[in-house]
Symmetry: C3
């Protein structure tokens, strides 16, 4: 196990750009939520709902906003954006699993690949012809990088990822295990009897600072490329169809799925299990609720939902059966209104 | 192909603890459903709906409850719980693909790993530093076990599974192919311009007798651990977010997804494609219907549904359009009621 | 990078069986959509919605139907089925990544496997006992083929696919990365305290010309086989439960999921994220809308939907809350109607 990290609280304050109130000499060795933190631990308050927990919190220090400072008697790191400050704090304590550059002897690397010197290539990796990999990148155990892929600097690919040919990754991209980038888009022409495959001739381009979760798929384009903008964050089990174009800093939560040729704006959020049918456009800063389905374009910012609320099944069933009479109910109501006039 | 197994019916009865009625000397060589079973096959009746099939059933023997014994003229294995008895019967006939302990020469195993003597490690497996693996475990082709994982006894990991670092598996855990345990939870703090990664510093702890299907993901915790209780059964394509705590013996069907920090009780059932938003609590013995979404905590046992029933699209569309007038319909109805009084 | 292909337009016309109108001597080197095509590119018009783009289209040639011929002034390939003709055109331009037969020295192949001479087996592939592989097949990097699998001719398996034991693939099957065929179906018998595993003793049989996307799963049968008919096309993240039987030429879009023992007819289409509960039967030529759930059998052809339409969240919420009063609304309406009579 790599040695756990620890820091003086004053050093943390300086590294995070937070204002220290209290004893800078104490040693912090880990992070913990307010209600479970103890000696040597740093915690944080972001959501005001949890402010009452400050009173009994046993953390050695807490990151919080000025306005809550008086609610905690211990050491404090004051921040305008406590959640962001907390995020940087987690990065301080992250252990590098595999910090050293190496090329494991079991890796199979094409002679035509161009690999910067300080790249880590783990066991059983296979690198195809014409690949380029930028400095500081690491390719995890058993991953495959297809021909002519371009991988930026400080990219991190976890074990068992597959990049098909001609996938382009910007700098600092992170891809978690079992994700597949550049598989064929789902395109067939039906000739009346069977589905004729449309060869998928485009590629995939992924911008800087994109993170892709585990078991997600981003298909290659049919003729043009599928494009994921800078800073986009994609969770697990997400499906991005061919020729989608995702705007910068959009967030796509787990199990969400975009059909082909969906154009999504910047700073959108797709909730878990949400979806979009093909060939639609979604404006900037649209938020789609969990499990909602967009079946047409969305032209302005805002939050979109579909579905019904959960309720006990017997009650739900009575209402769901009535849903099937809804058009009739509306017409009968109108008729009554006419009579009542 | 490993030699198929066969048993005398009397031996099966004894192994399963069922009462034999009929000829114990016949040889059973496989299992089959009632309507397709023939000579040498054992079948079962659990759901009474299928009882009429007993009359024409050609199985050499049938597992069934006492009350249906007279409905089948052939050999019978009488059981109080015929479905459970059938389950144990299937285990008798399962062939061990890979019974022998071995360590394939292509495996890459850290010198600091501690591996019990009768463990099977297949081709292209990679085992990280500080890993411990209990006796009788098997690690399938191309799987990766990250540093400091602890794997219990008789665990079975199928090919191409990924365990990130510090994942703890109890005894007899089964994990199917392409599943990923311990990838980073989906946590970011938005700083107004971009998403800042929250390093995921927790781990994953999985109890005894848990089974996890193919292509499922269980994320590591942010600060504390994600916890899967003893006996939990998880199907394919399931997503368990960071810091979820799943109670014992809960069942999670295919494509279900729990967002982060969901606490689920014991003996719950999440239907296929169902989901839960983050930070909610679900009581013991709650059943969630297929594709239903829990958007708030559930405080007592029972079945929960959401959504609408399927119908032909033109009819559905008429009703779905009216759904968008539902609040107006309710208000107009109330107004009519007022007038009618 | 493999050398890009190029063709004389007259040769393309002949290969595709399309009628050339214009200059057959021009060289076509790639394909592009109407609105982005330029010099040396071939485009197509299938959906009449895009016909107005013909006027300003800069493609060197366009595939289109007779009736639109006059709308484009450049070179034309006239086809009765322009989308199908376009599909075949894409196949002309597809580059073969890995055309040469070889067996990479890192592959681990059982001595009892029978492999035709012109099969490609890439790095880190593992082939189990008793496997047969037909001529022209290719098995991608890091894929695993379990014992007694039978793989037809010209099958293409992409990297990191897992076939459990006794999976049968017809000819020309394509399986994309991270898919898992033949993992255990999700079957347990509850004994009152815990779930007893039902060993999954069946196999999986996949017909000719089936394509399976990335990260999809098809479970093995409990006692009998799971069966995928000829020409079926399955997208990414699809789940097919144990003992499903899928009719020929059915299309299953991304993230759709069929529970166990679902029987689906021929020429059906399951939209993205749609689903079916277990043990139901779906007639031929049924189309299921995106995210719709079939909770009972469908006995005739046609399109089926469920759910509600997306709308802005505040508006949606008002209506969704009223949904929970729907049975009451219907009853009150009926009472008013009674009074009004």
């Amino acid at each position: 196990m790599p040695q756990a990290k620890q820091f003086r609280l004053a050093d943390i304050a300086e590294l995070l750009g937070a204002r220290l109130e209290g004893d800078g000499e104490i040693i912090i060795s880990s992070l913990s939520p307010l209600n479970s933190a103890g000696e040597g631990q740093l915690s944080f308050l972001s959501n005001p709902v949890y402010a009452p927990q400050l009173k009994s919190c046993q953390a050695s220090a807490v990151i919080l906003a000025e306005k809550f400072a008086d609610s905690f008697v211990g050491n404090r790191l004051i921040s305008d954006k406590p959640y962001v400050t907390f995020a940087y704090a987690t990065q301080l304590f992250a252990l590098e699993d595999t910090p050293l550059a190496l090329c494991h002897p079991s890796a199979v690397i094409s002679e035509s690949a161009t690999i910067a010197e300080d790249v880590r290539i783990e066991a059983n990796v296979v690198i195809g012809d014409g690949v380029t990999i930028g400095k500081g990148a690491s390719i995890g155990v058993g991953s495959y990088v297809g021909r002519d892929c371009q991988i930026g600097e400080n990219v991190r690919i976890y074990p068992n990822v597959v990049l098909y040919h001609e996938v382009i990754l910007g700098d600092r991209v992170i891809i978690h295990s079992a994700s597949v980038i550049g598989a064929d888009g789902f395109g067939f022409a039906f000739d009346g009897e069977r589905s004729v495959k449309i060869a998928q001739l485009g590629g995939v381009r992924i911008g800087n600072d994109v993170e892709i979760g585990a078991a997600s798929t981003i298909d290659r384009g049919a003729m043009l490329d599928t494009i994921i903008g800078e800073g986009v964050k994609i969770d697990n089990h997400v499906q991005i169809g061919h020729n989608c174009v995702i705007g910068k800093h959009t967030i796509i939560c787990g199990c969400a799925a975009l059909a082909g040729s969906v154009t999504v704006g910047e700073y959108c959020i797709f909730g878990g299990g949400s979806g979009a049918v093909g060939h639609i456009t979604v404006a900037d800063r649209v938020q789609v609720s969990a499990m909602a389905l967009l079946s047409k374009s969305v032209t302005e910012a805002g939050m979109i939902s579909s579905g019904t609320l959960a309720s006990p099944t017997p009650e739900w069933k009575r209402n769901a059966l009535r849903f099937q009479q809804l058009d009739s109910i509306a017409k009968r109501l109108k008729e009554l209104e006419r009579k009542a006039d």
